[in-house]
């Protein structure tokens, strides 16, 4: 069994865990927003180290997971066209749409390419003037500056044969939607470190004040996460609700301003549909009108495609912190990473996929594992 002994500083981790146990008096539900944090928590069994009355629920912060199936189907329809070179980050290749995935389209002769940076699309467009190069621009705020630069440069350099299929989402409106739900259980948040490296955390302050929830901007190392949980529990136990920054060695309140500036030049805020959750008002970006020549949705008149999602899937409730993967009857059975039925299984950062990857579909209940984790780690 791994856990505490493999931490960068097992003693420090043990101290933080002890302190959480010492100060906790009431049950609390805390959500980590970012998929990278979810992955790290499940891999390191962080939830098993906590008092049983502190529950971690897993948020909507995996952009691959929340990209709606309609958008994936649109991408596929465009990628099948012979006049198109379709470019995407590697993560999207295996995500199934209503009819296969990008990988299949590629094997059937579609020109589908994995890119490292959105700027690669500019190079591909210059080298292929007779093709339209379409980039599948998904992501949260972390990715928006990179994607914005592609369109900005294309316009500056007059490269007309490059466009973007935009499916950009934003974290603060998703947090607001979770908190507004009548079923909400979340009382505190670990905020997304790398999103805030770009955006800063100013925009989380009104959320924390309005809904009276602690939001602690947190990194994704196990020690960061434990520290973020401790800071959240300290606030909850003392009745405070503010934004704190656990990750100050990487980010500050203002974020990366040159990046924000270009993002606002290129994108404007729009309603977006989230897979499993539905439409959240003002929760994403679309291209500004000035960049319409580079908007793949305008260039290719792809019809709205009716998509069928699995009826058993509860990923929407998982993404909102209402349920956990084990509550789904299909988890690890009909639904697994090879045959994902829903949002939280399609990428390694989704909660269902992370639980599956670390064998949690095989465990009867978490208490079995919890005992082992603590006895080898020496905490608590």
């Amino acid at each position: 069994m791994k856990y505490l002994d493999e931490y960068r500083d097992g003693r420090l981790a043990g101290k933080i865990v002890e302190e959480i146990h010492r100060i906790q008096t009431k049950p609390w539900v805390i959500m980590e927003v970012c998929g990278g944090q979810t992955h790290s928590i499940v891999k390191h069994g962080i939830d098993y180290l906590l008092p049983s009355e502190i529950e971690l629920v897993h948020g909507p912060g995996c952009p691959v997971c929340v990209t709606p199936m309609e958008m994936i189907d649109k991408a596929h329809a465009i990628a099948r066209r012979p006049d198109v070179i379709f470019c995407s980050f590697g993560d999207m290749l295996r995500v199934p749409g209503s009819d296969g995935d990008l990988f299949t389209i590629k094997s059937l002769g579609g020109d589908v390419r994995v890119v490292y940076s959105p700027l690669d699309c500019l190079k591909i467009a210059l080298a292929n003037p007779d093709k339209q190069v379409v980039f599948f621009a998904i992501g949260f705020e972390t990715t928006a500056p990179a994607n914005a630069m592609l369109v900005w440069r294309a316009q500056q350099e007059g490269v007309r044969n490059v466009s973007m299929l935009v499916s950009h989402v934003l974290v603060p409106p998703a947090i607001a939607a979770i908190l507004q739900s009548p079923l909400n259980r979340v009382q505190g948040f670990l905020g997304p470190g790398h999103v805030c490296a770009v955006m800063g955390y100013r925009e989380y302050e009104p959320l924390s004040a309005q809904f009276k929830v602690p939001i602690v901007i947190t990194g994704f190392e196990p020690l960061d996460i434990l520290q973020g949980i401790l800071m959240t529990v300290q606030q909850l136990e003392s009745g405070r609700a503010e934004v704190q920054n656990e990750y100050s060695r990487v980010l500050d309140r203002e974020g990366n301003q040159p990046a924000q500036k270009l993002v606002f030049n290129v994108f404007e805020v729009a309603d977006r549909k989230w897979r499993g959750v539905g439409t959240i008002p003002k929760s994403g970006y679309k291209l500004r009108w000035e960049f319409r020549e580079h908007d793949a949705e305008k260039l290719f008149d792809v019809k709205e495609i009716d998509t069928l999602e699995s009826e058993v899937c509860i990923s929407g409730q998982i993404l909102s912190g209402i349920k956990k993967p084990h509550d789904c009857p299909a988890f690890g059975k009909e639904c697994n990473p090879q045959h994902p039925l829903g949002a939280t299984m399609v990428s390694a950062e989704g909660a269902c996929a992370a639980y599956y990857a670390y064998g949690r579909h095989l465990k009867r209940d978490k208490d079995d594992v919890k005992l082992t984790a603590i006895s080898t780690g020496g905490a608590a």
């Binding site: 590697g90 060695r249 990487v250």
Partner: protein, 93 residues
């Protein structure tokens, strides 16, 4: 895919008026755009997300984060194919 990967800036250059760098990640060197961190110098450590430096970090932070990403199997984006990284991307004569 939201995570940024730390690396060391080993070269800074100009490409079509854009500030760019070569950044070393473990054994791999890839290009990154410096437009969002224009004051970056050779020898600095930066967090790079999909080919863009977004934040500076110190060496120790960079080392630890890289190690963690490796454990989490979150470095696969570095293996994406090279699209004419050296050169300006214009078609060769």
């Amino acid at each position: 895919m939201c995570l940024a990967i730390p690396g060391k800036v080993v070269e800074v250059f100009d490409q079509q008026g854009m500030r760019m760098a070569k950044v070393q990640f473990g054994g791999i060197v890839r290009e990154a755009c410096l437009e969002y961190l224009p004051e970056t110098r050779v020898g600095d450590y930066v967090l790079v997300h999909v080919g863009f430096a977004i934040s500076r970090v110190d060496e120790e932070e960079a080392r630890r984060t890289y190690q963690l990403l490796e454990e989490l199997d979150q470095l696969t984006e570095l293996n994406a194919p090279l699209v004419d990284e050296i050169g300006d991307g214009r078609r060769k004569p």
